[in-house]
Symmetry: D2
Subunit: 119 residues, 4 copies
């Protein structure tokens, strides 16, 4: 999100404008945005909850379209929260992958469901 | 996520490699990834749950560092799920902002907490 | 929760006393309790997220003990929220089962995953 | 849930019958029920997410009715999961309150938001 030209930077700007035009900044405390993000993540999960894992791998097009929309909601709230807190999302994600690589060394983690609790 | 050079494209590739090296693709069904995403979103929310909205706006540096890490987890699972489902996250988010702009016209939505249920 | 002698009524009273002794009522707004409940539900889900459905049916004793503890957290926050809002949980649940019975008539719902979105 | 006459025992029996009549037991693995529970908890949270804490304390009757319904969904899935896992919910909740009383001694916990992370 460093340069305004990239994808997430553009989303951030569009979401800022969206909220400003509607005077919705007053509702967008980090606490509230974190709630909204969790709610959207649950709506995404709802799409999968009664499917088998196998079924979740081959969604019908109209179901995928709904899943895509819920994913968009999650990303939009995440970008909005990052904007409010001054967090660079991609840098944070990169740092976390590096941390996890140390926490789960390849040799030990290999295919192990037992040790598996990724993040 | 269209070009491999951009931020989310790089994350996607790093996460692919991370899972492949550990043979963890077997756990990464869309159903399971959606669960993991919801769990991480809740861990993010946990950081805010007893704060007032005002407190959530001025986090201490060490608290912000933890929040940043939870946000990273959310993004990483979201990018991983998008990869599995072939979803372009930024395009999806852009489409959703456009949809919401129609659903909440500026004149009607202005500052209204009553009509407010954003996504 | 009508009579103080029954199980949920006793929990309600114990939780009231617990909060009063620690002066924690100030944190227990319905908004905050609903957040805490969602967080605990996610911690419960976390225990299952990488298991297959089959594995989730035969938990090892030490894993079941942890699951049981997360379920307790969910119930405790739910009872606390019900107390704050004056809701009779068992009556509410009974009403909802009746509603669902009308929404999903036996003949039509039978074994159908397609129509299935229970609540 | 020990005796079939009490509130939760009756709910358990009603939910068993509800699922059996519709042949829905096949969907009710503990993994799936935990997902459904998390989704319902998020739907409950959704009702509060843009309210201030103060507003959450004085819900309008029609809003409270919706909140009550979401609470019912949470309880029903929790009771269903407990039935599948053989967990006595009230005993589990009682045990957890006892554990928390040791973890947060009254003298130290008193009114402290700082140490506060209840469960």
């Amino acid at each position: 999100m460093s340069s305004p030209e990239d994808g997430l930077g553009q989303l951030r700007d569009a979401l800022r404008q969206f909220a400003a035009e509607r005077d919705w900044d007053q509702f967008h405390s980090p606490k509230n945005l974190a709630s909204a993000l969790a709610v959207e993540a649950a709506e995404l999960l709802e799409r999968f909850q009664w499917l088998t894992e196998e079924q979740s791998r081959r969604l019908a097009p109209e179901e995928l379209a709904k899943v895509r929309e819920e994913m968009a909601d999650v990303l939009n709230y995440l970008v909005r929260l990052a904007d409010k807190l001054g967090v660079d999302l991609v840098a944070a994600a990169r740092d976390k992958i590096r941390l996890n690589a140390q926490k789960y060394p390849v040799e030990q983690a290999r295919g192990s469901a037992k040790k598996y609790s990724e993040f």
